[in-house]
Amino acid sequence: MTFHDLKANRREILTSVGAGGLTLAFAMASKAEAQDDGLKPLNAYVQVAPNGKVTIQAKNPEVGQGIKTMLPMLIAEELDVAWEDVVIETAPNDPKAYGRQFAGGSMATPLHWEELRRVGAVARAMLIQAAATAWNCGPGDCTTAPGEVIHTASGKKRTYGSLALACANVTAPDPKSLTLKDPKAYRIIGKPKAQYDVAKIVTGQPLFGIDIRRPGMLYATYEKAPVFAAKVAGADLDAAKSVKGVRKAFIVEGDPNAFSPGGGAIGQGLMPGVAVVADSWWAARKGRDKLNTKWAEHPTSKQSSKLYAEQAKAMAAGKAQRTARNDGDVDAALKASAKTVEAAYYYPFLSHANLEPQNCTAEFKDGKLEIWAPTQFPEPGRQLTAKTLGMKPEDITVHMIRGGGGFGRRLANDYMVEAAWIARETGAPVKLLWTREDDMAHDHYRPAGFHYFRGGVDAAGNVTAWHDHFVTFGEGATPAPSAGMSGAEYPARFVANCRLEVSSMPLGVPTGPLRAPGSNALAFVMQSFIDELAHAANADPLAFQITLLGTKDVVGEAPAAYGAGRMRGVLQAVGEMSGWANRAKLPKGEGLGVACYYSHLGYFAEVAHVAVAADGAVKVKKVWVAADVGSQIINPLGAINQVQGSVLDGLSEALHQAITIDAGRVEQSNFTDYPLMRISEAPAVEVKFLKTAFPPTGLGEPALPPAIPALTNAIFAATGKRIRSLPITPDMLKA
C-alpha cells in the first residue's frame, strides 16, 4: 500500500499554524479510516513504516531550487528521525491537504519555516504518546532520540517503526501547543544535505517531464504563429500525415481569450496552432516540416523593438502618464544641487530558456484526464485546463514532475493545456514536447524597459534629488505582467525629493515573471544610477551607498518595510570580504563594483571584480556576496548553490542575453543567437551569510538582481565607461 492510497481516506481538519497566521489544510487520519494492515499516515506529510523508514511528502514542485530536499528537512528535524531513514515522495497536487503548492517568489522558506517544523513536531508527539500508552506513563516521562522514543527514567526504548501501528490510535495534538527545538539542538537543519534525487540525476534515471512514458504513448509537436496568437489560415495536413509514423495532424482554433495583445497575461491559455502526433517525436517533427502553415494577419505584426525604443524616447520627452511617488520638490532640489546627472537606461526582453524545453504528457480516458507536468504551479494549470476543455477540475489529476529549470516560466501552464487538448483529440496518451525554437519563440518574456533619470548631489555627497520616468508596457494604468514598478522602489523614502513616474505603451508580446521579476531589471538601473551619483560626488561608491541608507534600522511599514540596517550590514561585510579598501591597487583595466538590492525578503550586497581588455572583452574575475536571509540557513549545500547560480545567471543576462522583436515576432531561435554563460566565463563566487535575528527567508532569487549592477559598476571603475544598456557588448567598451 502506498502513502497516497492511505491518504485517499481521511478526515480533513483545518488547522491554523504559525506566527504568520497561515491556514494550512491539514489532513489527520482518524481511527475509523484505519486501513486493513492498520498502518496509516500520521498526517498529510508523514508516515512511519514498521521498518523505521519515515516517508515524508514534499509538497512543492521541484525545478532545481532543492525544495524536495529542504522542506522535508524541516519536518524530519522536529520529528527527530535520522536523515538516512527518510524517504521523500513528491506530494500529489492537492491544495486541500497541502495549501498552495508552487515554486515561486522564493516563498517556500518564509511560508513553511514554522509550519512544517510543527508538522514534524506533531508527528513526534504522536509517537511519544503511543509509547507512553504502551508504557503506562505520561508523554512528559518520555523523550526521543533519532528514530526512537525513550523512557527517560528507565532508559527503555521503542523504535518509531515498532510504534507505527499503535499510532493509529493516537489523536494529533494541536500544533501550536508544542514547543519547537532550540536551534542549538538541530541535527538536520543547518547541516549540508545533498539533493534527495542526486543519485538519479548522476546516473540518468527517468526524472523529468520529458522522461515520462505511458503505455501506448504517442508524441506530439505543436506549431504556433510567430506573431503571438495569430490564427491558422491554412496548413497542409495531408502532407504532414504522409510522413511515416505520423498518426494525426490537426488545426487547433485555440481560445480567443488566451492572450490579450495589449498587455499579455500570465497563465495564457490555448493559443491557435497545428498539432502533429506520431509514433515518435522525430516523425512528428518531420511531419510538421511539411505543414507549410499559413498564418492570418494579426494586429501586432508591425511591432518591433526598434519601434518600442522610438516610442519610449518620444514618451520620455513628454509628460508622464502617472506619478507613482512625488516627495518634496525634485525640480527645485535639482537646481540647488552641487552636481546633477541625467541618464537614459534600457534593458531588453529576456527569455527563460529552461534547459528542458516545455513539455507535458496527458492521457484522456473515460472522461478523465491525467497529466504529468513539469510545472511550477499545478493547480492553476488544472483549472485552466478544465476551463479550456470544458471539464470539471475534479476530473483532472495533475502529477508534479521535476522540471529541468523553472525560473518563473513554469508558473504558466500553456504547455499543459496544449497537451491536454491534443491528447483528448488524439484519444491516446500523448507527450507534447516543444522544440527549442518553439520555446524561445513562445515564452512569457521578461519585459524590456526604459528609464529616464535625473539626480543631484550636494557638496557633502548626499543625494538631494532623484527622478525616474519609467517607460514600460501595459494597457492603460495596468502594467503588463512583471512590467510594473512600485512607488516604494529604492531609493524612494531615502531621498527627500523623489519623483517616480510611469508611462506605458501597448505590447503584443506575452510577458511574465523571470527569476526575481521586476528586481532583475530595476536593480540594474537603480543601482547603476546610484553609482553614477556616487562618482559625481567624488565619493567612495560603497561608503556612498551606506550613507544613502541613513541611520534608521527600518524605513517604512510592512509589507513595504525596508531593513536599512540589514542592508548596511551586508554592504559592510561585502566590503571586507572583497578587499574593497585596497581596490586602488588593481592593475589598469581592472575594477571593483558594488551594488545592493532587497528582494524576496532577502538583503544582498555584492562586489564584482572585472578586467576589461582593449578589445572591449569583459572578464569577471570574482564575485563576493554578503547575504542576510535571517537566522538560519536550512541547507547550506543547496543555499550556496542557489546563490552562486543566481549570480552567474545575472551575469549571463547582462553579458549575453536579449530577445528582440521584429515584425511582431521574436528574432532569436536557439542558443546560437541567445547565448548563455559557459564554464569558461564563470568566475568564482564567494558567499557569506550573515546570521541575524530575523526569520529565515528564501534564496531562489534575491542574489540575482545586484549581480548585474555590481558588474556594470565594476566596468565603470575599470574603464570609466558607463553601461546604460543591456546586454553589454565589446563595442561599448573598446579602448
Partner: protein, 154 residues
C-alpha cells in the same frame, strides 16, 4: 529499418528512419532517457554521449551513420572506471540544481578525464565549454572535475 547499435556494451535494435538522430533513437525508441534534448543544434551539450570514447552530440548523429561504433550513455557510466569516479564526485559536491544538463556534463567530464587525468583550468574550460548549465552550476562542475581527478578543488 532496424539498426543494430552497440549501446553500453550491448547490442540493441532500433527500428527507425536512418535520418533519425541518435538522441531520439536512444530516448524514444530504446528508452535511454538519461541523454537529454536541449537545443537540437549542437549548441548545448545536453545530448552528449561517447562514440568510441569521444564525446559527441547525439542530436547531430543520424542513426544510419553510427555503424559498429560503440555508444556509451549516462546509463553506462556506473560501469565506466572514470565515469563512476566522476559520478561520485558529482554526488559528493551536490553539483546539480535542476539536474537536466548534468548527464551531458558528466559525459563530457568523463571523456576529458579518460584522456587527461589531471586537467588544468584551461583544459577543463575547453572540454566543458560545449555544455550549457542553465542553472549555472559551473563553480561546482569545476570543483567536481578537480575532485574526481584527485586535484585541489579551489
Amino acid at each position: 529499418m532496424a539498426y543494430t547499435l552497440n549501446v553500453n556494451g550491448k547490442a540493441v535494435s532500433a527500428d527507425v528512419d536512418g535520418d533519425t538522430p541518435l538522441l531520439w533513437a536512444l530516448r524514444d525508441t530504446l528508452g535511454f532517457v538519461g541523454t537529454k534534448y536541449g537545443c537540437g543544434v549542437a549548441a548545448c551539450g545536453a545530448c552528449t554521449v561517447h562514440v568510441d570514447g569521444e564525446p559527441m552530440r547525439s542530436c547531430q548523429i543520424p542513426v544510419e551513420s553510427v555503424g559498429k561504433a560503440k555508444i556509451s550513455t549516462i546509463e553506462g557510466m556506473a560501469a565506466h572506471p572514470v565515469g563512476k569516479k566522476v559520478q561520485a564526485a558529482w554526488m559528493e559536491l551536490d553539483v546539480a540544481q535542476c539536474g537536466y544538463c548534468q548527464a551531458g556534463q558528466i559525459m563530457s567530464a568523463t571523456a576529458l578525464l579518460a584522456k587527461t587525468p589531471k586537467p588544468n583550468d584551461a583544459q577543463i574550460d575547453e572540454a566543458m565549454n560545449g555544455n550549457i548549465c542553465r542553472c549555472a552550476t559551473y563553480v561546482r562542475i569545476r570543483a567536481a572535475i578537480k575532485r574526481a581527478s584527485g586535484q585541489k578543488e579551489a
